[in-house]
């Protein structure tokens, strides 16, 4: 069976599985009334959370970045893992005690201000939309390869499918579907990794294989460094960016996590705080499986790529691969436009080098998907990876889109601007908002301001600069009042957006950037992706200063803030 | 043939046959326009038709008797109700004789199919064929035409069985086995029980059923012919 058919079949089966589970879950719940009432085990819930959490950025893009950036890209691992822990341990339990379901609701109530609520909604929409742009890139890559189309057409197809998935599916919230998605995703990620690790190092565990040796006895990482050096790239294990930038980058990924609506909600949909903690722990384990595999996938993929295009010694002319002899996967990816070869010196051979002489352009987001093909793994593995990529992109995109559409239809319209609208209009507004968000994200997906993981990093930065400080101060500083919070959020979001747009172009429109996006031009060497942490500090500072200058929050709010920090017996106040 | 079905409509195919065919009763049939499929169903004449046959295999079995009567403007007219026996070229198998009660010696005195077909075709001209499970009537007739004139029969058809299936669907009802038999369908519309297996009685039965089915159609607009036909 040829690869294309097999891919259709495997993707088809996984989709049928998700839908089947959704139907089964629905049907099951309408059964006997008294039979209901069994909970979902924290392990299962952890898997579902992990599926929610791991987006196209994690699945498709992260390993690609690691492949090309090496050690520097480990900030994603640290930032995202740390952010998850921060959210689970520090923020979620308090927010939960407050009894509010969404971040804007919390901010609106805590800062006793409709304005604060609206500003929070806007911040959330901006951050979530940016996040979806990142997913769109991943979806475009996955669909263009899977359907053997060029990237644009693949993206359009993906947009339509995401819309129907998010609107009709309602598959969000069905834990068992998400568990299935996690299983598909993790199998798709680890199985090729295991095969490749076995191929290269003989060790079935990619995490260990990374530190293992090749058949000729040289350790893999050493060999990789050597290859890269030969090709003129920086060494894989070397640190390339400034340490200051890396710290800020990591921080902004960490604290940005707290502002992303689709993750926070996971902590509220579990009945008990204790269960939430357990499932957060399990989720961390399940996320860890992918995250620890990612470096191995990245480095092995790069090694294989380099070996393929440069089978012989660099010095010799026929050491480089002849374009005529390029393998099938090369051709497939060429149709998507994400892999391009330009024969600059006219020798018909692919010179993959650092600098001007480079003839091969590889979009980093294709690495994970192309990985099994490069390694010449069996077709079904390749098909499985396509299904995994789609699962990752769809599950996260659907969650975020739902959050965006709810924010618009409920938080903005129903609760603020159009209180009397009927339920039908509310639903319609939600659908339109969702379609609008997809269209906007799709447009940006055509001109992505970076690789999937980088765009997602921008989203985290925006959330970090606007939402996180408002949440932190809402819980831990009773003196911060409504004006302070609103000013803080606006300052944080504003500065971060301006900084990002300065280097990435206004509204990400290519060519409108005021400064070239290179480390030399960055303010203090801070990359736009890392600026979220700075934005957050500005947010904190302005909020606290403004609050000091204006009236104290009302007494009942101050009591409320004290109450949620009291660890136990918060209900004692209302008991008598 | 099959692919042409999708490329040309019935009227176009009728014109095609008329041009191609030598002079024969079938050609006379084709020379009359088919009823306009967009006309109100009441403006159209139908011929309720039924045969008794030696069996159900349209390739080998033959027509033994033909009964038909006209449905015109919401009523079933009995003035041209016709019934005659046709002479089969084979012996009547006992299994079918039990059903329709036509015996060999009776059939022997009947019209040969060459004489019978023109009567039916001229009655059908300009009308819509109406039968219960019309595929059988249609195919037997078409095969007979091919055998005798060398060309197939085509024409618009209303099938009361198909209408009954639609009625079930539109009411979200499950169809049980036997529900679609002529007698069972008629009983649902409170139509009287008739003894089965006489070609004319069955034709009348199908005609009455058709009137009942149309009376039971929902919707303000009177149906058009194309809403009722299976082939048009």
């Amino acid at each position: 069976m040829d690869l294309q058919t097999l891919t259709y079949i495997v993707v088809g089966i996984t989709f049928a599985l998700y839908i089947g589970i959704a139907i089964w879950a629905r049907a099951g719940s309408t059964g006997e009334f008294y039979a209901a009432g069994r909970g979902i085990h924290p392990v299962a819930n952890g898997m579902a959370t992990a599926a929610d959490w791991m987006s196209a950025a994690s699945f498709i893009s992260m390993a690609g970045l690691i492949a090309f950036k090496g050690y520097d890209a480990s900030i994603f691992l640290m930032g995202w893992t740390g952010g998850y822990v921060l959210l689970a341990m520090l923020l979620a339990p308090y927010l939960r005690k407050f009894g509010k379901f969404t971040v804007p609701e919390f901010i609106g109530d805590r800062y006793y201000s409709q304005t604060a609520r609206i500003v929070a909604v806007i911040c959330l929409i901006v951050a979530s939309l940016t996040y979806v742009i990142g997913q769109m890139k991943g979806i475009g890559v996955a669909f263009s390869r899977f359907l053997e189309l060029d990237y644009e057409t693949g993206l359009f197809t993906g947009m339509v499918i995401v819309f129907f998935y998010a609107v009709l599916g309602g598959m969000k919230g069905i834990t068992y579907t998400q568990i299935a998605q996690y299983c598909v995703l993790i199998m798709a990620y680890t199985i090729p990794a295991i095969f490749i690790s076995l191929q290269l190092t003989g060790n079935p565990l990619p995490q260990l294989g990374l530190w293992g040796s090749l058949e000729d006895g040289t350790p893999l990482l050493q060999k990789l460094d050597m290859t890269l050096r030969d090709l003129g790239f920086a060494e894989y294990t070397a640190q390339k960016g400034g340490t200051f930038n890396m710290v800020l980058y990591t921080f902004s990924l960490m604290i940005g996590t707290a502002g992303l609506p689709h993750v926070i909600i996971r902590f509220f949909t579990v009945p008990k705080v204790r269960d939430a903690r357990y499932s957060a722990g399990w989720a961390l384990v399940f996320i860890g499986i992918l995250y620890t595999t990612a470096p191995a996938v990245g480095s092995m993929a790069f090694y294989n790529l380099a070996k393929t295009v440069q089978p012989g010694p660099i010095a010799e002319v026929d050491g480089a691969l002849s374009y005529e002899e390029r393998p099938q996967w090369f051709k497939n990816w060429e149709t998507t436009g994400l892999l391009t070869f330009e024969d600059k010196n006219g020798d018909g051979r692919i010179q993959y080098r650092k600098g001007e002489t480079n003839e091969l352009k590889v979009d980093r987001d294709i690495m994970v998907l192309a990985n099994p093909e490069i390694a010449k793994l069996p077709n079904w593995v390749i098909a499985l990876v396509a299904a995994g990529g789609l699962a990752a992109a769809l599950s996260t995109a659907a969650g975020l889109l739902l959050a965006i559409s709810t924010a618009i239809s409920h938080d903005l319209l129903k609760s603020t601007f159009a209180k009397g609208i009927s339920e039908k209009s509310e639903l319609l507004a939600a659908r339109i908002a969702m379609a609008g968000a997809i269209a906007v994200a799709g447009w940006f997906g055509l001109h992505p301001p970076g690789f999937a993981a980088q765009v997602v990093a921008l989203a985290f930065g925006l959330a970090a600069s606007s939402i996180f400080p408002a949440l932190m101060m809402g819980i831990f500083n009773k003196r911060v009042n409504n004006t302070g919070a609103v000013v803080g959020m606006l300052v944080g979001l504003g500065t971060t957006l301006v900084y990002i747009f300065t280097y990435k172009g206004w509204f990400f429109i290519p060519g409108t950037n005021m400064l070239p996006n290179t480390p030399d031009n960055h303010f203090l060497g801070i990359s736009p992706e890392a600026f979220g942490a700075v934005g957050a500090m500005l947010n904190f500072a302005s909020a606290i200063i403004v609050s000091k200058l204006t009236a104290e929050p009302p007494e009942h709010i101050q009591h409320l803030v004290e109450d949620i920090r009291v660890p136990k017996g918060s209900g004692a106040a209302v008991d008598h | 043939m099959s692919i042409w079905k999708y490329l040309f409509n019935l009227e176009e195919r009728r014109n095609w046959w008329t041009r191609k065919m030598p002079d024969c009763p079938l050609r006379d049939y084709y020379e009359v326009d088919f009823p306009d499929k967009d006309s109100d169903w009441r403006q159209v004449d139908y011929l309720a038709v039924d045969y008794e046959t030696t069996g159900l295999d349209q390739k080998t079995d033959q027509i033994l008797s033909i009964g038909f009567t006209t449905v015109r403007g919401e009523s079933l007219c009995l003035d041209d109700a016709t019934h005659f026996l046709t002479k089969p070229t084979v012996e009547i198998p006992e299994s079918s004789a039990v059903v329709h009660g036509i015996l060999d010696d009776e059939a022997a005195s009947a019209k040969p199919l060459e004489e019978a077909l023109p009567i039916l075709l001229s009655a059908l001209a300009g009308k819509v064929m109406l039968a219960h499970h019309a595929a059988i009537e249609y195919q037997f007739l078409s095969n007979a035409c091919k055998r005798i004139y060398g060309y197939p029969f085509i024409g618009p058809v209303v099938d009361t069985l198909a209408l009954e299936v639609r009625a079930f669907r539109s009411r979200d009802k499950a169809i049980q086995s036997g529900d679609l038999r002529l007698g069972a369908a008629r009983a649902r519309y409170k139509l009287p029980r008739y003894p089965a297996h006489n070609a004319l009685t069955d034709a009348i039965a199908a005609g009455e059923l058709f009137l009942a089915q149309v009376a039971y159609r929902d919707g303000k607009r009177a149906p058009k012919l194309k809403d009722l036909t299976v082939i048009s």
Binding site: S29, T30, F33, Y34, A36, G37, G39, R96, G99, K100, F101, G170, G173, I265, F268, T269, P271, V273, L402, A403, T406, S409, H410, G420, I421, S422, E423, K424, E426, L427, A430, G571, V574, D575 | G67, S75, L76, C77, L78, D79, A81, H83, R171, D172, K173, A174, Y189, K190, L191, P192, Y194, P195, A199, L200, T201, I204, E208, L211, A212, A215
Partner: protein, 618 residues
């Protein structure tokens, strides 16, 4: 003629006047006929011109009307149309099919032709047909009874007492003595042949005798109302009720084949309808034995039946039937207290679930609990309350309110607790909305105090509403729970039916029709902190709370009314034919119109669920 039209010929020959025709005319007749089919309620013919054809009914039935007045009902084998009306002397009349009808029609000129040629045939069209029509009316009228029976109750089912009668020669005094002796407010006056000649009521005695100072020894015939209006014992109760309302009379003699069969009073009728619950209730409070209460509660299905007959709204039916349950509960508690002594500490008996919401129907199990004052000491008082709960719950079970399969009853130790424990329960359910807790909320968030110390109940209610109001995390969980039962409406607006098993090809009106609305209303009510528990009340109240739009609430209200109405009709139908009432309805049992309306109702529920799902991202 074709011998094959024999079937039609045979039908003709079996029916007058065609049986008068000679063989050859008969044989030629079928070819002259046209056959037409008319759907029920269609007029025959469409243009109303009856004079151009003679119609013979092959199957079905028709009604002949002259304007408003019913002239006749005709059935199979009857003729109408050309020449028949003139003889009736009724002038213009119109005919409509009351059943699906197949007719043979014969053109007027053929009829004339036959009449000219065959005098016996023509004779039919002269004069004698009046009686024939009347016969047809009589027979059809009776047949019709059986069908209409399903809609209403005949008088015979309401009157029970054998009639008390006097002869016209009896004196006024004798009559009055008899009336007071038998405790009746009216007396029928009959002659020796038991046929009715008059009626005397209390009011006649007052206005004719006492007020005018008439001699008590005059015969009663002096003051009686002669030849009063009567009803036949086969008439429907509602017809009698209409007659009485129209004539402003309160007593209606009932006759059977011309003889007096009884007396129908306004009280009989009202007793039979909604107010019959009041009688049941007052009856209940007179009882001291559970066995007697059992007999009374066995009448609940009949009560539902009469409510359905009286076209009571589902909402009022729910209230009425729940009132009976409340009465039985209260009476059982009174009896228990008589037996066990006064309660050592105050307590409140709480109805939960459908009883709490005032939404019971014929088939209900018991959901209840007990809130005891905080001074409750399990060691000292535990036994008393356990016995109390056991007595009441057993009593309810004996009365047909079977034990709750989820054990949500006061008999379960867990649900017979002091106030503080209840508050602890609610705190836990609200703070940790586990599936089990959410399941319980469906029952224990719909509470109503039936008996005992109201303040205990108010305390709990206030506590829980305070905790739920605006608690969006809890509400999100409730919303998730409210979405677990979805209306049986497919993607293409088709019904999704249960396949296989005992209830093949049906849908569950309760769990997929009513429960989703009840659940939605509960979420809305808890979100706005409303005290209402009845679903209709909740929907009326919450529209102001902002959780749901006014339009949305009204639509849900209408949808619930419609679906519960269907359920009551469905159950009443089952009770009538002696089946156990259930909630499984086949779409085949509905008319097309009802089906569409039901789909609309389900679609409303689906929209509201989608909004909830969208808002809480469940």
């Amino acid at each position: 003629m074709d011998i094959e039209l024999l079937e039609i010929r045979d039908f003709l020959v079996a029916h007058h006047p065609f049986d008068q025709l000679p063989e050859d005319a008969l044989n030629a007749l079928p070819a002259k006929l046209q056959i037409r089919y008319f759907r029920r309620d269609a007029s025959i013919p469409e243009n109303g011109d009856l004079e151009s054809e003679l119609y013979l009914i092959r199957t079905g039935a028709v009604e002949l009307h002259d304007g408003e007045d019913l002239l006749a009902r005709l059935g199979e084998g009857d003729v109408f149309g050309y020449r028949t009306a003139a003889v009736e002397g009724a002038g213009d009349h119109n005919v409509s099919a009351i059943e699906d009808t197949l007719v043979y029609q014969l053109p007027a000129k053929e009829v004339d032709d036959l009449c000219n040629r065959y005098p016996p045939f023509a004779y039919f069209f002269r004069g004698k047909s009046g009686g024939r029509l009347r016969d047809a009316f009589a027979t059809l009228g009776q047949e019709d009874n059986s069908q209409a029976n399903q809609m209403t109750v005949p008088i015979s089912e309401i009157i029970s007492k054998s009639p008390i009668t006097m002869l016209p020669s009896a004196t006024i005094r004798e009559t009055a003595e008899m009336m007071s002796g038998k405790r009746v407010s009216s007396m029928l006056i009959v002659d020796e042949k038991e046929s009715l000649v008059g009626i005397v009521t209390d009011r006649d005695l007052r206005s004719q005798v006492v007020a005018k100072g008439l001699d008590y020894n005059l015969p009663i015939s002096e003051i009686m109302t002669h030849d009063p209006l009567t009803a036949d014992i086969g008439d429907y109760a509602f017809e009698a009720q209409l007659l009485m309302a129209r004539q402003n009379i309160h007593h209606l003699p009932v006759t059977q084949e011309g003889k007096v069969a009884g007396m129908l009073t306004a009280t009989d009728l009202t007793k039979h309808h909604t107010t019959s619950a009041v009688y049941l209730v007052s009856d209940i409070f007179k009882q001291t034995e559970i066995e007697r209460m059992q007999e009374i509660s066995a009448k609940v299905p009949q009560l539902l039946l009469s409510l359905a007959s009286a076209d009571a709204t589902a909402d009022s039916a729910g209230h009425v039937i729940t009132a009976v349950t409340d009465a039985i509960t209260t009476r059982l508690l009174q009896l228990a207290e008589e037996r066990l002594g006064a309660p050592p500490v105050p307590y409140a008996w709480i109805a939960a679930g459908s009883q709490g919401r005032n939404e019971q129907t014929a088939k209900s199990d018991q959901d209840n609990c007990m809130i005891i004052d905080d001074s409750y000491d399990p060691a000292k008082h535990g036994e008393y309350f356990r016995d109390l709960a056991r007595f009441v719950c057993d009593g309810l079970d004996a009365c047909g309110y079977i034990y709750c399969p989820g054990e949500m009853m006061a008999i379960t130790d867990q649900w017979r607790q002091p106030l503080r424990t209840w508050k602890e329960y609610f705190r836990k359910w609200i703070d940790q909305p586990e599936p089990k807790a959410l399941m319980l909320t469906c029952v224990f968030f719909d509470l109503r105090c039936v008996y005992g110390e109201q303040n205990l109940f108010r305390d709990v209610r206030q506590f829980l509403l305070q905790k739920t109001r605006g608690n969006r995390i809890f509400l999100a969980h409730m919303a998730g729970n409210a979405l677990s039962h979805q209306p049986p409406l497919g993607f293409f607006r088709n019904f999704v039916l249960i396949k296989g098993g005992e209830h093949d090809h049906t849908f569950d009106l309760k769990h997929t029709g009513i429960v989703p609305i009840v659940d939605l209303a509960r979420v809305y009510a808890l979100a706005s902190g409303s005290e209402a528990v009845n679903t209709m009340d909740r929907l009326d109240v919450v529209a102001k709370g902002g959780e749901v739009s006014e339009d949305g609430a009204r639509n849900l209200h209408d949808a619930l009314e419609f679906i519960s109405g269907l359920r009551i009709e469905h159950q009443a139908g089952q009770i009538r034919v002696g089946d156990k009432p259930d909630n499984y309805m086949s779409p085949d049992a509905l008319s097309n119109f009802e089906r569409n309306q039901l789909k609309d109702a389900f679609a409303v529920v689906r929209t509201m669920q989608n909004v909830l799902s969208q808002r809480y991202q469940r």
